[in-house]
Subunit: 329 residues, 2 copies
């Protein structure tokens, strides 16, 4: 099934809706749980009822309450949550960005996932502008896949962790490249360099991906368009660590709250013909090939679109579509 | 006024209560807001009503609903929230722990606060055991002061940020020293080395501190007892950066959700007669004075108590009182 959070001026979490598989129709599910956050907190009580509503919607059996999903105002599928633990499971991305920063590769590159905590108190909406305070901050997008988990007990194994995945989303992990070197030099990791990210409008259960969901990875290309031109179509199945490993890494010393979002890190393939999912990689490839980067970081008005299509060319999660604007202060 | 969250098996956020100034009596305030988290999300609607309930409770005017606060089961004052941004505003602490790790001091030590994102999806309760998976993880406590903010817009100045402080708490920021060097070597900052922390049972509005709350700092000693013996009484007023500066640092590139918790970092004074607020500091002082550390990190059964008293010797926030136990897995 596919779930989304309808904009509501009274509810920060939005209103829980079930969306049709083709993303054309939707119906409120607030009688099952007011919001997706709350549904995740009692998933075993809600899942069957949501699934049943989804089946009825897809079968055209609902006689009331169905509305046009295309013209509705959607929040990020999960508008806010308790933990966004962002991994960096595409090792080629790690290699390129560290090369760009002239930073050494960690010795544990192949054995221990890189992970940091990102902002999750209010995600940007999928079509919301990205506020920029200063061009020198080096605004970049990062196209990622993410999974939303049930409660995960501390010490869960990667195999146990895989069983806790409830939903899958896309993420635009906004990054401020200009702030990263100074911040990492302080030794405490990212903070200001990782402002609010956006999620896809819809979150889907793993079964919606059919055979593309296997071995804890989404084996489909992530389509990235920048200013409405092709930018990347790297396959998200190329993760070195699978999502079970990322979740287990996050849960090594803590319980994970229901609704935890685990990010894949920037989707990246070694085949340069597949393009990139962030500007930092493209700039590094330009540097390798031409001696210097020619693509600037995001300027006011630049637009980023991130979407994933199934084997039949149908959008799975809806589209992230954001442009950069001047911050109001 | 003083607020707390009563344990409830049905509500992850607990039930909002007002507590008497002397911490002996309490009354539910769930008719004003179900939980402290929700009260913070509509503070301007709730504050006057909560204040009025608090005045009535303290004046002995409430005829029903008052219960014994001492025998009630309290969660951390705010059982979970959207962001725990932990600063490190006591520079003497930074100097000692970096010396212990043989790590260089950041060049911006005096000008830019150190800050990382900590786990906030479920704080340990103030009397809850600290689960330890492995003694080699180097379990440590860190006694801190924290402030809970209203919504803070991106780009707020330190002065504006000070006006957004709604409540003050104590924090035991549990740290796994054995995991820190490897984690920081990866370059992404703390993650596994910062498991769930605990807050004091009660959160108080700044006016409850009287003249001890000034210049964005709490000018009172933080009493730390370890295995029921004196361990520290460092003055929390010695912060190099005040809370307005820490909040503004956190809000430089993001809005902060209402309910954001900002930590002071481990309270630390240069005067060694004041003791310490964490084991890492004590171990470093032992190394300086005797050539090697003699105090081990926390073993199973070790107990940490953190509390702060007003000028009249009355507990302000209630006590954090936790012992280390073997994790269940």
């Amino acid at each position: 099934m596919k779930l989304g959070s309808l904009f509501s001026k009274d509810q920060i979490d939005g209103e829980l809706c079930v969306i049709s598989q083709d993303l054309t129709q939707a119906v409120k599910a607030t009688h099952i749980a007011p919001s997706l956050r709350e549904a995740l907190e009692k998933w075993s009580d809600c899942e069957a009822e949501l699934q049943s509503l989804s089946s009825e919607l897809n079968a055209g059996k609902l006689t009331s309450g169905v509305f046009d999903a295309k013209s509705a105002k959607w929040r990020s599928a999960l508008p806010r949550t308790w933990l966004f633990a962002d991994g960096s499971a595409f090792i080629y991305h790690v290699k390129l960005v560290r090369m760009a920063r002239k930073a050494a590769l960690p010795e544990t590159l192949q054995t221990v996932p890189l992970m940091y905590q990102g902002e999750c108190g209010q995600f940007l909406d999928p079509q919301q502008d990205i506020p920029q305070r200063d061009f020198a901050h080096g605004t970049d997008f990062e196209g990622e896949v993410g999974v939303i988990t049930d409660f995960v007990p501390m010490g869960a194994s990667p195999e146990e962790a895989l069983q806790k995945i409830r939903l899958i989303v896309l993420i635009n992990d906004v990054s401020l490249r200009g702030l990263i070197p100074e911040e990492l030099a302080q030794g405490f990791g990212f903070f200001q360099s990782k402002p609010a990210s956006a999620l896809s409008p819809f979150a889907v259960t793993p079964d919606e991906l059919g055979s593309a969901w296997k071995e804890g990875r989404v084996h489909l290309p992530l389509k990235v368009a920048y200013n409405e031109k092709f930018f990347g179509e790297a396959n998200a199945g190329a993760m070195h660590f699978h999502f079970g490993q990322l979740i287990a890494h996050a849960a090594r010393t803590r319980d994970l709250a229901a609704g935890t979002l685990i990010g894949s890190g920037t989707v990246s393939n070694e085949d340069h013909s597949k393009g990139s999912s962030c500007l930092a990689e493209k700039r590094m490839i330009e540097t390798i090939e031409q001696g210097q980067p020619t693509t600037p970081f995001m300027k006011l008005g630049d637009r980023i679109q991130i979407e994933m299509f199934d084997q039949n060319g149908k959008s799975i999660f809806g589209q992230i579509n954001q442009k950069v604007v001047a911050a109001s202060r």
